[in-house]
Symmetry: C2
Subunit: 295 residues, 2 copies
Amino acid sequence: MVDFLRAGLDVTVYCVDVYSFLVNYVHPMEVVAHRCEYYRLLVSAVLQSLGVQLSQVKFVSESSLAYSKDFVVDMQKLCALMTQQDARSTCDEVATTKMLSPMLCCIHQSLSEEYLAMDIQQRLHLMNPMVAGLDGLKMSSSKPPDTKIEFLDDPDTVWRKVHNASCPPQQIIENGVMELLKHVLIPVSEMRLEQKRGQTGLNTDEAKSGSQRPFVTDSAPDDAVFSVSRQRGMDPLHFASYMELERAYISGVVEPEPLKEAVASAFNGLIAPIRRIYQESKEWQEVDRAAYPEE
Amino acid sequence: MVDFLRAGLDVTVYCVDVYSFLVNYVHPMEVVAHRCEYYRLLVSAVLQSLGVQLSQVKFVSESSLAYSKDFVVDMQKLCALMTQQDARSTCDEVATTKMLSPMLCCIHQSLSEEYLAMDIQQRLHLMNPMVAGLDGLKMSSSKPPDTKIEFLDDPDTVWRKVHNASCPPQQIIENGVMELLKHVLIPVSEMRLEQKRGQTGLNTDEAKSGSQRPFVTDSAPDDAVFSVSRQRGMDPLHFASYMELERAYISGVVEPEPLKEAVASAFNGLIAPIRRIYQESKEWQEVDRAAYPEE
């Protein structure tokens, strides 16, 4: 999303509350509405933590579009054009279910894109900011919570999760820690380095945000995007790209334990502003309680 | 419907335009809207022809209710509570189809009753004002047009349909003409006799309508509801109830041909005011063309 903003696109964060109700059909619609609001606050905080001005991003909920007469009429027209088999096949991709409501989901998705006048759709897995889980395997919402770092995890939880993550020495296959570096930490660090250099892309609002420093130690060279500290008395290692770090890891120069230390520390630095926004926002805390009442 | 009005009930004529679109899904929604309007004009004319003041009856279309947010939210909630199998089973009762839209029909029907705050639902088969077809067999919309009299049929068409109708001598089984007498003509005639006597039920507005005479000849006794003319020189036969007529028919005293003459004549008298309203209404004629463009 930040890449799109920097590329000068108009970015809309679309909360599919109606779709979510229809596809999941377990939680009452009121709880789904609270979750939509929860995500709005979370995404706002994440974007702020990445240096985005909230005025640059538009937030739209599906429920603000999907109850217009035009939308409902179009929904009925598409229901009249679609076979039950096609609706079932499409909804089987997202949910194995015997219930009726998920059969309407694909229509809601298509109409949403139409009613938003959307050009590009970018799916963001908000709760899972990495492609693979910390176990190094494919991420899935049904996996145990320890396989993913959540935006509001406290520092000790982050340390524990990273410590327990899959990180086989000299191997990058099924290595959850290296995945996190490749897909989250190094890209963010690269962006911060660019901001530090005044390279703000097409999005000039970016310059207004207090840019944060890359995940490097004080002694790092100007082009470093990641540092790994070593035993006392030894200088940290600095890397200018993910590929450099990967080569060092495969060769054995970077070992799992120091890497995990650096990753947990960087990740805590990354999410600290999000936790702070949560702690300072009575509104968000109340929405959290309403959205996840059982927890 | 007239019975309900005479019993003092509030009567609402509900045009299920949205349901009709979803269940049939072949005609564009715009054509369905024209048909809804066509039926409103037809039902209005039929009621007027039966002596009802239109101010007594409320006309509501489903589309005036079904696009409120409350309705759509309730629709989604019911979709989330209903299994695909239940939706399919219910829609199989009304339509054998592979399309998605009919699966929503049972929910639209239930919600309509709820949103109308309806106490009693009375189904009226508007185009088929008799229980059996003129062939004496169960009525169905897929049967040939000659098996039913339509409200706008011209006199010659009515004569031809009644003449060709099933009417086995001395038999009331599979006898379309006797069915028409039992379920349409005699009940209307009985009502007209009551109106003539000033028995207007609870509905006092009824008295304002110019009451029409029962289907009897001038010489009929005061309690007659149906007359059958015979050969030249013979007096007509008069009946005070359907049961009296039925007994006379079974005994052979009333023969098929004179009965058909009397039935066609009575039916033409019944629908003449409806035809007249149609011929005088440019609006209705235009709606007819828009609603049934292929005819």
